[in-house]
């Protein structure tokens, strides 16, 4: 015989142990989707309410953070009436080759070395904020929350190849922002940064 009160206690213990610790992560993902702190709070709240109510559907031992990210993404889509199906026409391989070309340009013009001497954090945060959807959420999941391509594909509801091409495109855009930042810092920071030699 199951005691409903004991069941409720077990449920709450499981939820407190497996789901609650990921609230910061869910918030960061929600913020990457909404870009607005107040909207992100609403999405996190909705995510946790839904997760709590459907806790019986969570498979114990599976990846709870991934499960929460998926609920979060759906909560965002509902709140913002977005379509689940977006078509991408980017080629991941072409993006990797272009990224290498950009690296080469940075190495050649010295911005690569400049970047090594700068605190990239603030510039990178600004660059992240400037990314458009769906690129921002993809970078957030894979590069910041350390999800595999496959996990990100499941959360975003797109094929793995789409995650890959979005990710590479986004990284290239971020690197271009960093390059501009480095050039700016190099010009205004003056000597000592090992810039170009005349």
């Amino acid at each position: 015989m199951s005691d409903p009160r004991a069941d409720g206690k077990a449920k709450d213990e499981g939820f407190a142990r497996d789901a609650i610790p990921w609230m910061d992560d869910v918030y960061r993902f929600a913020l990457s989707l909404t870009r607005d702190p107040a909207d992100a709070q609403d999405i996190v709240q909705e995510t946790y309410l839904r997760a709590y109510r459907s806790w019986h559907t969570f498979e114990p031992g599976s990846d709870c953070r991934r499960w929460l990210f998926t609920i979060c993404r759906n909560a965002f889509l509902r709140a913002h009436q977005r379509s689940r199906h977006e078509v991408d026409v980017i080629d991941g391989d072409a993006e990797s080759v272009a990224a290498a070309r950009d690296h080469r340009a940075m190495i050649d013009d010295g911005t690569d070395r400049l970047l090594a001497t700068l605190d990239l954090g603030p510039a990178l945060d600004r660059a992240l904020d400037s990314l458009d959807e769906p690129f921002r959420a993809t970078v957030q999941l894979v590069d910041i929350e350390d999800q595999s391509y496959e996990a990100a594909a499941g959360i975003l509801g797109v094929p793995i190849g789409t995650v890959r091409s979005r990710l590479f495109r986004a990284r290239r855009q971020l690197q271009e922002q960093l390059r501009l930042h480095a050039l700016d810092a190099g010009i205004h920071g003056g000597a000592g940064h090992g810039g170009r030699h005349a």
């Binding site: 409720g8 206690k9 709450d12 939820f15 407190a16 609650i20 609230m23 910061d24 918030y27 960061r28 913020l31 702190p37 992100a40 709070q41 996190v44 709240q45 946790y48 309410l49 709590y52 109510r53 391989d93 990797s96 080759v97 990224a99 290498a100 690296h103 080469r104 940075m106 190495i107 690569d112 970047l115 090594a116 990239l120 954090g121 990178l124 945060d125 992240l128 970078v139 894979v142 590069d143 910041i144 929350e145 350390d146 595999s148 391509y149 890959r164 990710l167 590479f168 990284r171 971020l174 690197q175 960093l178």
Partner: protein, 102 residues
Amino acid sequence: MPWTPASTAAPATGGDMPDDARSIDCTSAVRQLWDYLDGELDEPRMNDVRRHLETCQACLPHADFGRRFLAALRDARARRLMPPAVRSRVMHVLSQAGFTDG
């Protein structure tokens, strides 16, 4: 430094494979660089790219830059923290839904 191939990779047909048979060129290495740094290639391809990067002076700076870039991105995790008020709010809403913490 000796190169130790993964014992499970590519069963050898008639002894060791010649080096060239498993070596890749710069274009191929660069094309797979992000997948490599993300650990998303299968084992033989991971080894191919790793070996190329260990020996190629032209590709090494790409890989170094890629690593530093990804490390800086990962650090964004620590810079974006949820305001404490959001946690309190969510915990309050959960408690109204019947959740008891601890």
